[in-house]
């Protein structure tokens, strides 16, 4: 079993839809959570970075962390064709844990927003 599970999709939605992307993780020592967006043949771009359980909002993006169920989500409101990309969740250990700092990634979800 992978430490971080993410449905690879692909996910196809119409422009303007609300998109929900999800990951689950198995190690309760994971404390920091990130969402990256990766366009084809480009490096991952950091979208959201959260530490605690709860919601964090940035424009059309909302990251949600539920540590009790080891579940993280990214919501995209009013999705646009330019949001079409692969979305990767990532997590790392808390300070003081062994090998903290290195990111463990989900497999990535391919999203297509069609006009």
């Amino acid at each position: 079993q992978k430490e971080v599970e993410q449905d690879p999709g692909p996910l196809s939605v119409p422009e303007g839809a609300i998109v929900s992307l999800n990951c689950t993780y198995s190690n309760s020592a994971f404390q920091y959570f990130m969402w990256y967006r990766q366009y084809s043949r480009k490096g991952p771009e950091l979208l959201m970075y959260t530490y605690s359980s709860g919601n964090k909002e940035d424009g059309r993006f909302t990251a949600q962390v539920d540590k009790s169920s080891k579940y993280i989500s990214l919501f995209i409101r009013d999705s646009q064709p330019s949001d079409s990309a692969t979305y990767l969740c990532a997590t790392t250990l808390n300070a003081g844990g062994t090998s903290y700092g290195k990111l463990t990634f989900g497999q990535g979800t391919i999203l297509t927003v069609h006009p």
Binding site: M34, P44, G101, K102, L103, G106
Partner: protein, 113 residues
């Protein structure tokens, strides 16, 4: 400001040759990471440098892989005696500190023929 840069962007090499991949992190970032991205394996951690501490090499797949970071800035990932299974995109990331947000470069696409 300038982001993480990597060179070359693409590298084609013959099986058995050695290759060097370069990473220039964001100025002032103390932590530097190398990852590998391949179909079927996703993004995998390779090695991590933090300040003057000994690097975390726990993700290196074999002793053919090595990396160094000079002067706390530029890093070079070296793959000796390349194999076809080494074909992948090699990504470098830097961070202002451990367990902090990481910013990725565009990657080097390595093809071993």
């Amino acid at each position: 400001g300038a982001g993480v840069s990597q060179s070359p962007s693409n590298k084609v090499t013959e099986k058995g040759k050695d290759v060097e991949l370069r990473c220039d992190p964001i100025s002032g970032h103390t932590a530097l990471y190398w990852y590998r991205q391949s179909l079927g394996q996703g993004l995998e951690f390779l090695i991590y440098f933090q300040g003057n501490s000994a690097p975390d090499k726990s993700g290196l797949p074999s002793d053919r892989f090595s990396a160094e970071r000079t002067g706390g800035s530029v890093s070079t990932l070296t793959i000796q005696r390349t194999q076809q299974e080494d074909s992948a995109v090699y990504l470098c990331a830097s961070s202002p500190g451990r367990a902090r947000e990481q910013y990725f470069g565009p990657g080097t696409r390595l093809t071993v023929t």
